[in-house]
């Protein structure tokens, strides 16, 4: 059974600090997604990582993918309060249907 694990599950940090969220998955996948979810809202797509070594950056967020290690990271640089949200990584499940298997989510709280 494919498993996707994130850590930490909860992260409280001060504005201006850097931190990394980790996403490990248990089977081969050459594509990984990062989503953001604000309280009571739906999922907003942040990054689609398409291949081994892929790196994407948007503002203070940078995501990378190492398919050999089955690991993706979401790095936060100089956090600001607006980044407070829950972040999910996801990979495709077995078969070719495109169904996504999500991690548990990492809730980020950035304190002013």
């Amino acid at each position: 059974e494919l498993k996707v694990e994130q850590n930490p599950l909860f992260l409280s940090m001060q504005e201006g600090k850097n931190y990394t969220i980790y996403c490990n998955y248990s089977t081969t996948s050459d594509r990984l997604y990062w989503y953001r979810q604000d309280p009571g809202k739906s999922l907003e797509s942040l990054f689609v990582l398409l291949s081994n070594g892929a790196v994407k950056q948007e503002g203070r967020l940078m995501a990378s993918l190492d398919t050999k290690a089955r690991l993706s990271t979401l790095h936060i640089t100089a956090a600001v309060h607006d980044l407070s949200a829950t972040y999910f990584c996801a990979v495709h499940g077995s078969g070719n249907t495109g169904k996504l298997i999500f991690g548990q989510g990492t809730t980020l709280q950035v304190k002013p």
Binding site: R31, S42, G93, G95, T97, G98, K99, L100, G105
Partner: protein
Amino acid sequence: GAGVSQTPSNKVTEKGKYVELRCDPISGHTALYWYRQSLGQGPEFLIYFQGTGAADDSGLPNDRFFAVRPEGSVSTLKIQRTERGDSAVYLCASSPWGGTYNEQFFGPGTRLTVL
């Protein structure tokens, strides 16, 4: 263009009742997915439609859950004899085609509360 829409946004029902949740995908998207998100968890896959047919229903938890997409566009998730454990946010997503090479776009979700 319009994104994925879901109705109702909130649904409160009593244990044992029947509910229907509706999803309008992005126009032209042939693939449609239903997920369920319990409090504090990531979304969990329920069912995938390619066109009108359910190509993968392996995530439906039991036979109280059923979904249709009769014309290949709007989909309805139906839950019979609801239980308190069915309380969750039900998310719908669509993509241009199925498979692993198309990004999914999520709707706002329906929050179901079973009393």
